[in-house]
């Protein structure tokens, strides 16, 4: 008997597309029905204890009226119809939800099941019956879908299949609801979540296709977490969640854009912000491990959307990051070279750049000087000292001879200025002319020599020894008789100097003389 009314009921509902008018008309006199229904409902309770016959009668009455009244019943009707009317896509969910809230017989549920298919039939009927649910209409369907369907899960064992069917759609909704529930409305929260998902989707930020991928992913997790979601969200009213979700998603979007704008504004900070957000979020995630999976899932999908929005700022921030990277690389190169330099410089314990550079400069100068002196030493040594004559004779003139031409070439270039300065310095230092200059002239010192200092130090060097020797050497090495004469006049002890200096090209003498 009960099945019959069910069938009838279903048929009625099915016809509700057309019958709705009937129901509406019926509704016009809902009071009677409602009262009757309520009376009927109330009655069975007390009558349960009564005779079967009575109850049966009542039941029959109920039944007779039920097919008629169930859909027409005010309490049911309004809820049902309102659901159907105002929430076309949601009808099944919310309708079923509503139905579930009522202490309804399984028949009702079956009706609802049937009604699920009929949602499309109900084209916005009576707007009068707007209640809180009406707002739900404006909500994105999937969300209420999810909530209702998920809420049904614990309540209606039968409706499991409904839930499953809805899962593909409710994914987004659930994510949104989770977003709302977690109450992370700050832009940082979003970006953190974005960062979290960006960790996973970092390679595919730009491609929008990944959004679908990320969405697909959560679906799996969502279905697995449906129970968890339900348990979490069961307390919340579907309406409220859907409402709040919507509001919050809007907030999210606005905050995302604002934060993305902010990130675009500060290039230098962006990378740091993102990383800091990511790190912050990571820490937060560790704290909420239980919700991690679903959160990540939703964040991934949410983040995918947001990444599309932030592409420009991402580009800008990336440019800034690139700039920072190049700057860092440049600095690293310089530091590396500084370290190499430090290693070259002996006994360098300085760490800061300025003093390091100072040391490097000093060391470079001293090195140059040393080289010059050594050149002179190696070139002039045999000719500098008193024993040089014998030496020369032993070595043969060829030595000097051979060295002369070779010396000449490079010597001439720096000769003049060098001579001037060296002579001046020599005179000031030792008051002995020419000591270093001819030697320097003679020596094939590297052309790098520019400073006066080498000559001074060389003079000092040579000052260690009796002047005659260098003089002799000098005379011997480069100067012609004139020089020798000069030296002899100035340096008394050098009288013994052998004037057997090699023939020096006159130009040298002339240069020296002129410089003198």
């Amino acid at each position: 008997m009960q099945s019959m009314p069910d069938n009838e009921l279903i048929e009625l509902l099915w016809q509700d597309g057309h019958v709705i008018m009937h129901s509406q008309t019926h509704r016009k006199s809902p009071a009677a029905f409602g009262e009757v229904k309520q009376a009927q409902r109330a009655e069975p309770v007390p009558k349960c204890g009564g005779a079967l016959g009575n109850s049966s009668d009542l039941i029959q009455e109920d039944e007779t009226a039920s097919w008629f009244q169930y859909p027409l019943d005010d309490s049911l009707e309004k809820e049902l119809c309102s659901e159907f009317f105002y929430e076309m896509p949601n009808v099944d969910a919310i309708g079923t939800n509503k139905m579930s809230k009522d202490t309804s017989a399984p028949g009702e549920r079956s009706i609802k099941f049937g009604a699920n298919d009929e949602t499309s039939v109900f084209s916005g009927s009576d707007p009068k019956q707007s209640n809180i649910r009406f707002q739900e209409n404006t909500m994105p369907p999937p969300k209420s879908h999810v909530i209702a369907s998920t809420q049904q899960a614990p309540r209606l064992g039968n409706s499991n299949f409904i839930n499953f069917s809805h899962f593909s759609r409710p994914v987004k909704a659930d994510l949104g609801s989770l977003n709302g529930r977690l109450g992370k409305e700050s832009g940082k929260g979003i970006r953190a979540g974005a960062g979290e998902s960006s960790m996973t989707t970092i390679g595919s930020r730009i491609s929008g296709s990944n959004q679908t991928q990320t969405l697909a992913h959560p679906s799996h997790t969502m279905s697995s977490d449906a129970a968890g979601v339900v348990s979490r969200g069961s307390n919340e009213d579907a309406q409220m969640t859907s409402l709040s979700e919507r509001v919050r998603t809007q907030t999210y979007e606005t905050t995302v854009t604002s934060s993305s704008g902010g990130s675009g504004g500060s290039f230098g900070r962006t990378g740091q912000q993102i990383t800091s957000n990511q790190s912050h979020k990571r820490k937060g995630r560790d704290a909420e491990e239980s919700e991690c999976q679903s959160e990540e899932a939703e964040y991934e999908s949410v983040e995918a959307n947001k990444q599309a929005q932030r592409s420009t700022s991402t580009r800008r921030s990336r440019a800034a990051e690139v700039h920072n990277l190049s700057e860092r690389r440049r600095r690293d190169r310089i530091n590396e070279k500084m370290k190499a330099l430090q290693e070259l410089i002996p006994h360098c314990n300085k760490t800061d750049k300025a003093s390091m550079l100072d040391e490097a400069i000093e060391y470079l100068k001293s090195l140059q000087l040393q080289v010059q002196i050594m050149w002179m030493g190696s070139g002039m040594a045999p000719m500098m000292f008193p024993g040089v004559q014998q030496y020369m004779s032993r070595m043969g003139m060829g030595v000097g001879h051979s060295s002369m031409p070779s010396i000449h070439g490079p010597v001439q270039l720096p000769q003049v200025p060098f001579v001037n300065q060296s002579m001046a310095s020599a005179s000031t230092a030792n008051q002995r002319p020419l000591c270093p200059s001819p030697a320097l002239n003679a020596v094939n010192f590297p052309n790098q020599m520019q400073n006066v200092h080498p000559s001074e130090t060389y003079a000092r060097y040579l000052g260690l020894h009796p002047m005659p020797s260098p003089t002799q050497a000098v005379n011997f090495g480069t100067f012609g008789s004139q020089m020798v004469q000069q030296n002899q006049t100035t340096a008394a002890p050098s009288s013994s100097i052998i004037p057997t200096a090699l023939e020096v090209p006159s130009e040298n003498n002339q240069n020296n003389n002129s410089s003198k």
Binding site: F267, A320, I334, A354, L357, P382, V388, Y461
Partner: protein, 103 residues
Amino acid sequence: MGLLGPQQPRGEQAIATKMSSRRNRISDEEINELISKLQSLLPESRRRNIGRASASKLLKETCSYIKSLHREVDDLSDRLSDLIATMDSNSPQAEIIRSLLRS
């Protein structure tokens, strides 16, 4: 201490670096001066009138120059030691050469 580039660092580092750069502003100029001094010492930039080269290049060239000078010193030391071998070790020249070699 990092060598600050000509441009100011931006972002969150700006504040910290600006504070330190106030202290380091003088050293920045010093560093630039030192670098140009270094450049003047180098043989390459002396010959042709090259404008200010990049710091890293300069440093690299300085390193290579120092290395070449080292090689030269070694060469000369060899020569001097050869020379001193041929001389009378008591002679002053030997003394000089020895001092040269010691340095």
